[in-house]
């Protein structure tokens, strides 16, 4: 399956999902068309356009370089950093989360010297704490640094 055809299929599936969700909107009778009509129009447009995209992809060959994607390790690092940020902030607090996310991403981007990685992450997380928590007043659910200091 070409990249273009894959885009068309994914778009069609997204449009179908949107249409299903839009049909679930209750008509309240407050106006002539109701709260769902524009959403239905957008979803239908997406489905029709993806059919056009799929049809045109069958006619043209895919010239040029094929799309490359980042290696799986990048997505895993992104997901790990993301999960730590999303779920870790309430448990660990802001500063440890910054430290861990930075360490994971620096490692993923190619920094292999562990002392350097730890040092950058530690200094940076302290800097972020000072700027975002102390200066800008961002809410830190645990504020472990304040407890320590």
């Amino acid at each position: 399956m070409t990249r273009q055809m894959m885009s068309a299929v994914v778009s069609f599936l997204v449009g179908s999902f949107f249409l299903l969700v839009a049909f679930g909107v209750e008509d309240t009778g407050d106006d002539p068309v109701g709260p769902g009509i524009v959403a239905i129009a957008f979803a239908t447009a997406i489905m029709l356009l993806s059919i056009v995209l799929g049809t045109s992809s069958r006619r043209q060959s895919e010239n040029g370089s094929s799309a490359t994607f980042a290696p799986v390790s990048v997505f895993l690092a992104y997901a790990a950093a993301g999960l730590i940020c999303t779920f870790g902030i309430r448990v660990l607090g802001y500063t440890p989360v910054i430290f861990l996310a930075l360490a994971i991403l620096l490692w993923s981007f190619g920094t292999r010297r562990m002392t350097l990685l730890a040092a950058i992450s530690a200094l940076a997380s302290a800097g972020y704490y000072i700027f975002f928590i102390r200066m800008l007043g961002l809410h830190d659910p645990r504020d472990l640094l304040a407890m320590v200091l």
Partner: protein, 501 residues
């Protein structure tokens, strides 16, 4: 004239606003110079930090950041043959050859001067043009607004990006997602899939940060894995760092013509800096007596695209302020800033908030001077900083800064999740050729378009016929149809010629 004096006095009476203008100029240059990070991404990052500011300082900071960011992209285009922003792609063509000839300093100075020149002319057009256009747009009602927004959907979706169909799909997807949440007319919630956090709909900040910043982190991670860090080396001789006055004066006609091109393109929603820079480059090359030398490192080849791409900035605010339709991605984000502060954009803003509007114009003019000076004297230093900071160090910091910016908006873990998911979606969109700008503009316009549509039908005695009774509405639908047919035909011709070869 008195209004612009009012604007300057408003800005100068608030030291915080003045300080933020300077900060915006500096940040914009730095961020714009980083390959991959656009001015839009920088605005998305700083946006939540402005929630606690008054409207004028918040808007001034982000508006000037956008301007300076457009200029900042030229630094990496000239020094590293990598455009910092799409708007600087044409600057590379002669900018990098100038660097290779030992004239990096001169190229950077030409870029700074041309950007400020073009931006200044564009800003004057905004200041004097917007007020005149607003007088006309005050007469428009819901049917006209719906038609204008539909035209914007179709035109922007068709013009932004390589593929008309993909652009329209992206616009429609952004439009659909904007409708999630509470229906403005009935007050009932819709399409929230049971998530209470979606009662107020998707918030703009996590979406922007996800699509522009987290997606860019993934792109950069891919590049680092495939190419590794590249060594960069640029030198500039003393002679190659100077821009003598006679040479500057020779560039003025080029800068002026390119500024006019950029300003006209800036007024048309969807086209933007990346189109303006190439149109101006091509036109000046065609006119030049030394057209054969273009591409080998001529100063005019830097001045033309830089004047044009920055001249887009001011006029792209005209459809925003007069109609509530963003003429660019940055303008689309600025709508969010206005909304957060409870200010409705449209022609009435000139009557309701004159101090704010003209304060913003004044901030723009001051910001142009600020980034022009920063660029003229500081661009080589910025270039050296970027050369010594590899992407594998910068982008992890960008990620955690983006996370902090999202969290600072609402202290919401849900928002962080949304931003991360949209980061992956944004990455997939870039890989598949779906323009993110079209998505954002669709997202920003959809609610207003829906409201105008349903209000029109409530007002109508004639059902859908109300749209055919208004000449402005008919004209807008006709333009939308014409542009989509023309772009579709162009796309089909390109497909057929690719199939033949």
């Amino acid at each position: 004239m008195s209004e612009i004096i009012l604007g300057f006095s408003t800005v100068f009476s608030e030291p915080l606003t003045l300080g933020l203008i300077l900060a915006g100029a500096l940040c914009g240059v730095l961020v714009g110079a980083l390959p991959g990070l656009t001015a839009a991404a920088a605005i998305a990052l700083l946006f939540p930090l402005t929630f606690h500011l008054e409207p004028l300082p918040a808007l001034a900071l982000l508006y000037v950041l956008g301007k300076a960011g457009r200029y900042g992209g030229s630094i990496s285009a000239i020094l590293f043959n990598t455009p910092g922003t799409a708007a600087s792609a044409a600057t590379m063509l002669d900018g990098y050859p100038m660097t290779r000839k030992g004239q990096a300093g001169k190229a950077l100075k030409v870029s700074a001067v041309a950007s400020a020149f073009g931006d200044f002319l564009g800003e004057l057009l905004l200041i004097f043009g917007a007020v005149k256009i607003a007088v006309f747009t005050k007469t428009l009602g819901p049917p006209e607004y719906f038609a204008i927004m539909m035209m914007a959907f179709v035109v922007i979706g068709s013009v932004v990006g390589e593929s008309v169909v993909k652009g329209l799909i992206a616009t429609a997807t952004g439009g659909f997602l904007a409708l999630v949440g509470t229906d403005p007319i009935s007050g009932y919630s819709r399409m929230t899939l049971g998530f209470p956090q979606l009662e107020d709909g998707f918030t703009l900040v996590p979406l922007l940060i996800g699509l522009f910043v987290f997606a860019e982190v993934l792109v950069q991670a891919e590049m680092v894995h495939s190419k590794g860090d590249e060594d960069v080396n640029f030198r500039s001789s003393r002679e190659g760092s100077r821009l003598p006055m006679p040479e500057f004066l020779r560039l003025v006609p080029t800068m002026f013509r390119s500024s006019v091109i950029g300003s006209l393109i800036g007024m048309l929603p969807g086209l933007g800096s990346s189109v303006a820079c190439f149109v101006a480059y091509g036109e000046e090359r065609r006119r030049s007596k030394r057209s054969g030398e273009w591409g080998t490192g001529v100063p005019e080849g830097v001045a033309a695209p830089e004047a044009a791409n920055n001249a887009v900035s001011g006029p792209s605010m005209i459809p925003l302020l007069t109609l509530g339709i963003p003429g660019s991605t940055i303008a689309a984000i600025l709508i969010g800033v206005f909304t957060i502060h409870g200010i409705q954009v449209g022609p009435m803003i000139f009557d309701r908030e004159p101090a704010l509007v003209f304060g913003l114009f004044s901030a723009g003019l001051i910001g142009i001077l600020a980034y022009g000076l920063i660029g003229y004297f500081g661009a080589p230093l910025v270039g050296r900083m970027i050369a010594y900071l590899p992407p594998r160090i910068i982008y992890p910091f960008v990620f955690v800064t983006a996370f902090s910016a999202v969290y600072s908006g609402n202290n919401s873990v849900f928002d962080i999740g949304v931003a991360l998911i949209f980061g992956v979606i944004g990455y997939a969109m870039r890989k598949s050729g779906f323009p993110i700008a079209a998505f954002i503009i669709g997202f920003v316009l959809a609610r207003g378009a829906e409201e105008a549509f349903r209000q029109s039908l409530l007002l109508s005695d004639n059902g859908f016929g109300i749209f055919l009774e208004r000449p402005v509405a008919i004209a807008c639908f006709a333009i939308a149809a014409l542009v989509s047919v023309l772009r579709g035909a162009q796309s089909l011709r390109r497909t057929k010629s690719h199939a033949k070869t």
